[in-house]
Amino acid sequence: MSDMGRSFEVLVVGAGPAGIAAACCAAESGARVGLVDNNPRPGGQIWRGGENHAGAPEAKRWLQRLESPGVEIISSAEVIDNPVAGFLLAQSPRGELIFHYEKLILCTGARERFLPFPGWTLPNVVGAGGLQALVKSGLDITGRKIVVAGTGPLLVAVAAFLRQHGGNIRMVAEQAPWSRLIRFGLAVAAHRNKIAQFFQLKRQLAGVPFRAGCWPITAEGSGRVESVTLRAGKKTWKEPCDFLACGFHLVPNTELASLLGCELRAGFVRVDELQQTSTPGIFCAGEPTGIGGVELSLLEGQIAGYASANHAQKAREFFAERDRFRRFSIALERAFALRSELAASPAAETIVCRCEDVTLGRIRSHSSWRAAKLHTRCGMGACQGRICGPAIEFLLGWKVESVRPPIFPVPAESLTARDRATPESVST
């Protein structure tokens, strides 16, 4: 029993940029640190594939800094429950794991927002970040026709990445209108590196049409996607493709924070200036506190890491820079807000909940998320509403209810481990 539990002064959940920065800073301050992550390797989504795919020298620098002693990395482990205060339960291919912590830092990142439209459940209609992740994990897209659609700065970055890996990018369709994109450009002009990044991506996409105010209304194909119908203003047309890579910006992963009783504000985890949540001893950094990208995640991670190891003074050095990137985050939210026409895309018979195959018509015949859940099982499948929840919130304005453990589906034997999570089962 004693080998299944471990105890840390600072436990970090999530090994993306925020989590890596937090773990490094806490360890360098002398704390015994654990970094638990559900991927096979650290790096999160943006640095997935480690140094080979990370591209940015920054990724290399942080991944090397992480190798220093003091951080124990626990990969391929998914946190599913908080059975007792001060303990987390995770599942992994090695069985269930129990961690004790004194301080906890949540760096659970974000996921893409997906919006339903007829045909979105066809094979090869994937997330934009989703297709990028598949390519990073070995999928060959050489010569494949790809339409990249949706919204957010990720689209252009993904399109450039896919092209670099041999994809034949037919078009980038951004739902936000030019007027908002231009205002966004002016608002973030002070972030010279962001502007430079954008022009670099634009060069990499030379010859690829970029359409603003344009979005997918249906995907067609037999057995898999063969074309997408796009709309811009009153005009609609069909674009042939082997893949439709489509995502509508990001939504934060707040399930674990909610489980731990951390207060949310407007869907994000509320934190104070030291990145502390409303729950004592629990910090949060990165996308769950507001979608802001890799730079803001690194800054918040460093602040949380130092603060958790009682180095508040050091943490304060990053405040001014963090404020600067928080302004970028606000501009981002304004620029890529969803246009109301997107809510008109799904038909009554369009599946919204892909786990239980529940259509929009069946969901909206009920008066609330709770009623729809009870009668149709929407949001009760394997993903536990992570995909359909944000879509339903946009389509019908219903807020998803509080989470319940386990926050990821688990084999039944893991549930019995809840009862074994006692201080005696943990070694230091």
Binding site: P123, V125, G130, L131, L134, S137, R354, G381, A382, I387
Partner: protein, 82 residues
Amino acid sequence: MPDMIAVNVNGAKREVASGTSALAAAMMNGAKFVRRSVTGEPRGPLCGMGICFECRMTINGLRHCRSCQIVCEQGMDIRTDE
């Protein structure tokens, strides 16, 4: 050339580069879709990061594995719902 490893995709012997996910291995080796939904629709991956559960496959006999998060190992048996 990266190291190649041998896997089994829907009963056929295939070689993939080391580091390839079970999902990518299946998609590149003839799998037209990954799973059948509860009403029988063919489905492929969506999120690519272990959240949507659309990439569930049977791996080494274990059902409902999120194949996008699993790296191929020598001799791994990968089965879609086809």
